[in-house]
């Protein structure tokens, strides 16, 4: 049940990052969000891109201390086992692993089934595959 994004229509508002950091960290800080929206302007015009975890599980495989597991639908990091080696960060194919102030790996866990980014995206650009988002907008491929 991974996240999907209609990249072509993302407006770059970053309300998803605000919702993520607000919910998980109790404060608004896009640096700490578990997904990242960025934009740049080059000769093909404005490019807006999002990097986010799609729960592929590669970090689960590469973790040297088995601190990361895939609970059916989402990734879980056990901070009591995490040694902060950054292997998961370096091997993530989507640049979706982040580190917190205590040097522990932070990975999107889909807010345990109710992703805040999906809830807050104003234009329904982020959604859960094969599931209606909380705001009732239907997911489609």
């Amino acid at each position: 049940m991974p996240l999907r994004v209609k990249k072509a229509t993302c407006t770059g508002c970053k309300l998803c990052q605000l919702a993520c950091s607000g919910w998980h960290n109790g404060a608004f800080n896009p640096e700490k969000a578990r997904l990242k929206v960025s934009h740049k302007y080059d000769k093909s015009g404005i490019q807006i891109s999002i990097s986010y975890c799609n729960q592929c599980g590669k970090c689960v495989d590469t973790c040297q201390v088995e601190a990361i597991s895939l609970n059916g639908s989402w990734v879980l990091v056990d901070h009591s086992k995490c040694i902060g080696c950054k292997t998961c960060l370096e091997t993530c194919p989507l640049d979706a692993v982040h580190y917190d102030g205590k040097d522990k790996s932070v990975i999107c866990n889909l807010c345990e089934g109710s992703p805040r980014c999906v809830e807050w995206c104003p234009k329904g650009i982020i959604y859960l595959k094969e599931k209606k988002s909380l705001t009732g907008r239907a997911a489609n491929e």
């Binding site: 407006t11 508002c13 607000g22 109790g26 800080n29 404005i46 807006i48």
Partner: protein, 602 residues
Amino acid sequence: MSSFLGKMLNVDLTTGKIETTIIPREWARQYTGQKGLGARILMDSFDPLIDPLSPENKIVLTASVMAGTIVSSSAKLAISTKSPQTGTITDGSIGGHFGAELKYAGFDAICISGKADNLSCLYLDPEKAEILPVSDLKGVGTFETEIRIKKLVGDSQAKVLANGPAGENRVPFSCISTERYRQLGRGGIGAVMGSKNLKAIAVRGWLEVEVPDMEECLRVVKEIHETDGVIDPENEIYTDGTPILVDFCQESGLLPTANFQEGTFDSFENVNTAAMKEIRQAKKACYSCAIACGNYLKGKQHEVEGPEYETIALCGPNLRNDSKDRIVEINALCDDLGLDTISTGSVLAYMMEMTEKGLYDFGIRFGDTEKAVNIVRHIAFKEGLGAEAAMGVRALSEKYGGQEMAMHVKGMELPGYDPRGSWGMGISYATAPRGGCHMTAYAIEAEAWGDLDPFTYEGKAKLVCDLQNAQFAKFSMGVCDFWPISSETLARLYSVTFGGDWTGTEVDFIGERIFNLQRVFNVMAGFDHTDDRLPGRLHNENLKAGPPKDVPMPYESMTVSLDEYYQIRGWDSQGRPTPEKLKDLQIEDVFIDQYRAYIELS
């Protein structure tokens, strides 16, 4: 970190001294942020009679309590200063990221005074603030400036306000740019930066913004986003952006055409929203904004984020230009050079009309768009005909005549709504603190869709007064113009981000306080009711088509309406707030004493 930190970065460019000073929390209660806080900080120990291009002028950058939070459309930054174009207080507002980034860097405001010896960039982040020499950026456009500043500070995520060559050369209607996306600075804020040898301001933040109760904040803001229209995919500001106004203004007969000689343009369909959407490449939102009004357009040879309705009106029909490609070209050029498109279009139109009527030959006529583009390039460097145009319509008409057709109020060129089609806008332009500005009271909406007759002054004094109060609160507390938010809803948002339990009435009261504070500045800068006037054309010539056809808008009736406006405001017959009124508004004694002394002497 609290949503209001009470921290200001104080920069003296003359001495190079940078220090952090405290902003009293009481100011966040009385003046909130952006426009209000900016005016309060600007006026602290400030003489409104100083030369705006002297080192004594201050540039005050203010975010807001809501900036950096999840409230939609809240990342705006205001910049307040004394305008070199009008001599009044002026403040502009810019979208993009800067306002929020300033909060993430640990500041609510920046105050810049003095003048650097060499061309400089101010950079700040949570750990340091420094003035960097950037002489190699002299004459460089805003787009490239931003790219090079990011390289200079070694951070592609830095947010930059870039001044263009127009500002460096102190063009009185120069403005600044960010992200190749948004601009700010009607009234010549670019010129003030240029006079300080300040080429750019860059900020990078990685701190967090807290609110009193995160769960409550998320709950209330979510509910408001869903019920107040900001996420509506059919919101016309999202689907179309401001070009949606072209058809409306055409049908209402208030689309400025040929220097406001007419109010309708036969070829309007070449430049309306349908025409613009044909060349749209992408949509973009400012940071935290659900409305997403931004449009990137690609013309035949140029690309631009825009054009806003104002740019279309003043650089399109107002020049008898029916080419959207040319509008895109002029817009892109203005954004890069750092020129306000409204004033630029207006001065070109004046030059065209003067030439056509044989009053002075500027060598350009309505429809000469290639020549127009050429002049625009030269305005930024004050070369040739560009040096003349760079004076703006007021100064140019004082030099060459044709003052009736110099379409400005207090020196600021009029935006894209002909008041003869919406008389309330006339009162709005006449009383806006920074001159011919449409942003303080959008009377058009009430006159088009409300029960008010647009062709009378009856009820307009009260309408404009109420709109100004609400708008000044909105532009201070934190959200963008394009969210048509009520004061009650704004109060709820302020409560969950700042704390306390605010009401719509208190919000409007704050707006009234800030409006009066700006008026106090202007009075002490030498303005009174005789400056609250519209260009002669609007009273002496009637429009010839559309709903305002043959309807005169008499000067005498407007002055009666203005007298009513001053009474409602609690001002004297010269349009000056009374000291008693200022006391009622709880403006501090220090201003009242200074102000009382001034009006007793004058």
